[in-house]
Symmetry: C2
Subunit: 259 residues, 2 copies
C-alpha cells in the first residue's frame, strides 16, 4: 500500500496531547494509517460540546515523539480541535476521527459532559466516521494494553465499512483486571443522572466557594445498556446521534403546548 493510499486518521482527546491515553491511541493508529494529531494543549475534561467563539485559538506544531504521526497542540476545546483540523490544518478530509483514549468512563450520560465524546460527535456532524474511546480507569498510568487489540479492530472495521450517517460510536472499555475481556456489546446509553453534592469552603477573605462533586444515579436496570455490559467485563459500543429531537414526544408536546 503506498503512503497516499493509506487512510488519513485524525486523533484528538480531552485529557491533552501529553496524556498516556492519546499516546497509546496514536501508536495504534500509526499501524493503520497516516496519522495527524490535533489535540488540546491543556486538560479539557468536562468541556462537553463547548467551542471558542469569544476568544482566539492557537494551534501550533507540537511533536511529542519520533512519529511518524504529525502533531499540533491547540489552545481550544476538543470540538475546536476537530473544527480546526478538518477545516484548516488537514489538506484533505480525514477518513476517520478517533478521540481518546479517555482516562475515565464516558458511559451513560457522561457522554453529554465529555470533551472526548463531543469531539467524536463533531466528527459525525462534519460527516467523518468518528469514534470516542474511554477506559474506566482515571489514573494517569492506567493499563491500556488489554484494550489495544479491540481498539485496532473497531477502528479498522469502521474504516472498512463506515458508519450510518449522523452516527458516531461511544466505546467504553472496562478497567483491566487481569482477566480477558468478555467481548464487545453494541448497546444503548444507560438511563441515569448525576446528583451533585457541592463541597462548600470559605476562602481567606471569608467568602464561600464550591467544588462540584457528585454521585451517579443509575435509573436503568436493563441488560442492554452500556453500564450493564461494562459491569460484565464487555467493551460497550453505543451509537450516538446529534439529532437531539425526541421524535417519540412530538405528539405529547403538541398536546402540552396546544399548538
Amino acid at each position: 500500500m503506498t503512503k497516499q493510499a493509506r487512510p488519513l486518521i485524525l486523533v484528538t482527546n480531552d485529557d491533552s496531547i501529553i496524556a498516556p491515553g492519546i499516546r497509546t491511541l496514536i501508536r495504534i493508529m500509526n499501524t493503520i494509517g497516516e496519522v495527524v494529531v490535533v489535540a488540546p494543549d491543556s486538560p479539557q475534561s468536562g468541556m462537553g460540546h463547548a467551542i471558542t467563539i469569544h476568544d482566539t485559538l492557537r494551534c501550533l506544531p507540537a511533536q511529542q515523539d519520533a512519529g511518524p504521526q504529525t502533531e499540533y497542540a491547540c489552545s481550544g476545546t476538543p470540538v475546536d480541535c476537530v473544527k480546526l483540523a478538518v477545516h484548516e490544518i488537514l489538506d484533505r478530509t480525514p477518513d476517520l476521527i478517533v478521540s481518546g483514549i479517555n482516562h475515565g468512563s464516558n458511559a451513560s450520560v457522561n457522554v453529554i459532559y465529555s470533551g472526548t465524546m463531543s469531539a467524536a460527535v463533531e466528527g459525525a456532524m462534519q460527516r467523518v466516521p468518528s469514534i470516542g474511546f474511554s477506559l474506566l480507569d482515571y489514573s494517569w498510568d492506567a493499563d491500556f494494553s488489554a484494550a489495544e487489540p479491540y481498539i485496532k479492530q473497531i477502528a479498522t472495521s469502521v474504516l472498512e465499512k463506515g458508519l450510518p450517517a449522523g452516527v458516531c460510536l461511544n466505546v467504553n472499555i472496562p478497567k483491566a483486571n487481569g482477566t480477558p475481556y468478555a467481548g464487545i456489546k453494541v448497546c444503548r446509553q444507560t438511563m441515569g443522572h448525576w446528583e451533585e453534592d457541592f463541597d462548600i469552603r470559605i476562602d481567606p477573605t471569608g467568602k464561600p466557594y464550591y467544588w462540584m462533586r457528585g454521585e451517579f444515579v443509575d435509573s436503568d436496570g436493563g441488560d442492554d445498556s452500556d453500564i450493564w455490559a461494562l459491569n460484565h467485563h464487555y467493551l460497550s459500543v453505543v451509537p450516538i446521534q446529534f439529532d437531539l429531537t425526541a421524535h417519540h414526544a412530538l405528539a405529547a408536546v403538541h398536546s402540552v403546548i396546544g399548538a
Copy 2:
C-alpha cells in the same frame, strides 16, 4: 394563591445575568411564580454542556433590580448554574427551569453548542420540566416584546401539564419584524452543520492565531423542521432528549463491528 403555593421557577441563561434577554424572562416569570435566578456572571455562549470539574465555583447574591425575584451570579457555565441551583441554592426542587431568552438562534444543531439549551437539557436530566427560549436577533437591544405573550403561554402550559420524562423544549422565536407571529409549530431539529472558515492572523511576535467563523449549511429541506417554521414566522418548539443513543442504528453498528 398564597406565596407557598406559587410554583418555584429557576431562571438561567448563557449571555450572563445582566443580558436584556434574561431580564425580560425574569419579568415574565415573576407574573407566574416565585422566581430564583442563578445565572452566569459573564458571557458563556457556545459553552455547550461544559461543567467545571477542575476548578472552583463562586455563586453569590447579585440582585440586579427591585425584584421580587431572588438573584445569584455564578462564575460557572449554564449547566453549573443549574446543578448549583438544584442541589445547593434552592430549598426545594423547582417546578420549572427556564433558560434564556438567548440573544440569537438555537435552532437546528445550534442546540448542541448552546449554553442556554444545555441548561435546559441539564434541567431535564435533573427531572425538572425545562425550557430554553431564544430570539433570532443577536443584538443587545433586541425587541422581545412580541415574544412575551408566547413565552408566558408556553411556560404556563408546561407548568400545568408537565413534559414527557427525559424531554425539554427548545423554543426559538423569529426576529420581530412588525407583523404578528404566525403561531407556534412543534417540529424537529433541522439537519445541518457549520462549515468553519478560520480567520488566520499574525500576532506581534509573528505567530499565527485563529478566529473561528462559520457558515451554517442546511442539509434538510423538510417542512416539519424548526428552520422551516422560523422562516415562515412561526415560533418553533422542538422536544429535545438527552438519550443520545441512535436506536435506529443499533443493528447497522452491530454489523459494522461484528459483535
